[in-house]
Amino acid sequence: MKQPESTENNTNADPVNFKDIVDQWQNMVYNTALSIVQVEADAEDITQDVFLDVYEKLPAFRGEAQLSTWIYRITVNNALDFEKKKKRQKNGGLFRQIFRVKEDDEPVNFNHPGVLLDNKEKAAALFKALKKLPEKQRVAFTLHKIEGLPYQEVAAIMNTSLYAVESLMVRAKAGLKKTLEQFYQSEA
């Protein structure tokens, strides 16, 4: 996916700069959040929260990382926190977890709005399989394959080494392969 130009000098949270930042990065923030949570309304809420965080923290942004990396990091953290919070609300307290009947946690079908019509079914299967991956593998795969970021930037966003990202990607692909094979075999 095409990357927006970076705005390295946007370090003041004044309305003009903030407007530029929102205009430039809203699609990237929304798309990343949507790829992680896979619910459009939730992705909208996360996008709003991310920009409120950016507005609040922008004066303290020292430019140690690229602005895009910084915003991606906030987005990923917000999306994962949102997902955990939702899961906690769904599961309820410890008492409910012990005594409730085990519900089916199978993820629902998600159709990404940007996918080509020919790939709709395959993309839905991919997102379903992605939900079953461990958190870090899912984030690495989302940033590299869906957002189209190079390994170097994925490493910077995840605050890890290039080697670790490569390893996460190999494991993510292996995990997806296994889940998808089971999925297609059960469908046949």
Partner: protein, 109 residues
């Protein structure tokens, strides 16, 4: 399902997002953000009001005012006499007093 066919299908599925467009949020995000920022400002003052309206805080504030009043009252009562003396003394040496000015200017009898 045939093994090669399955492998191909899985590979195609993993690559299904290649060439996909970015999803876009609902329009007027900036307007919604400005509204949320305004709401946050209001809620900041609301939080302060809620804190001040807590029974504990309100009672403590009233007690503090009463204690301060009591001390002010007893202190002023205790120093009432000396305060009057000071005022009288200041009146005597005041440069604004026209009688005193007259004394300074007309030194000769």
């Amino acid at each position: 399902m045939e093994k090669n066919k399955l492998a191909k299908l899985v590979h195609e599925t993993i690559e299904a997002m290649d060439g996909a467009e970015r999803a876009t949020p609902a329009p007027f995000l900036l307007t919604r953000l400005h509204a949320a920022l305004r709401r946050e400002e209001v809620s900041y003052w609301e939080r302060i009001t809620v804190f001040l309206c807590r029974p504990g805080v309100a009672v403590a504030a009233v007690l503090l005012v009463l204690v301060l009043n009591f001390f002010m009252y007893t202190y002023s009562k205790a120093n009432q006499g000396s305060f009057q003396t000071i005022v009288t003394g200041a009146d005597e040496y005041s440069m604004i007093n026209p009688a005193a000015l007259f004394d300074i200017e007309n030194t000769q009898p």
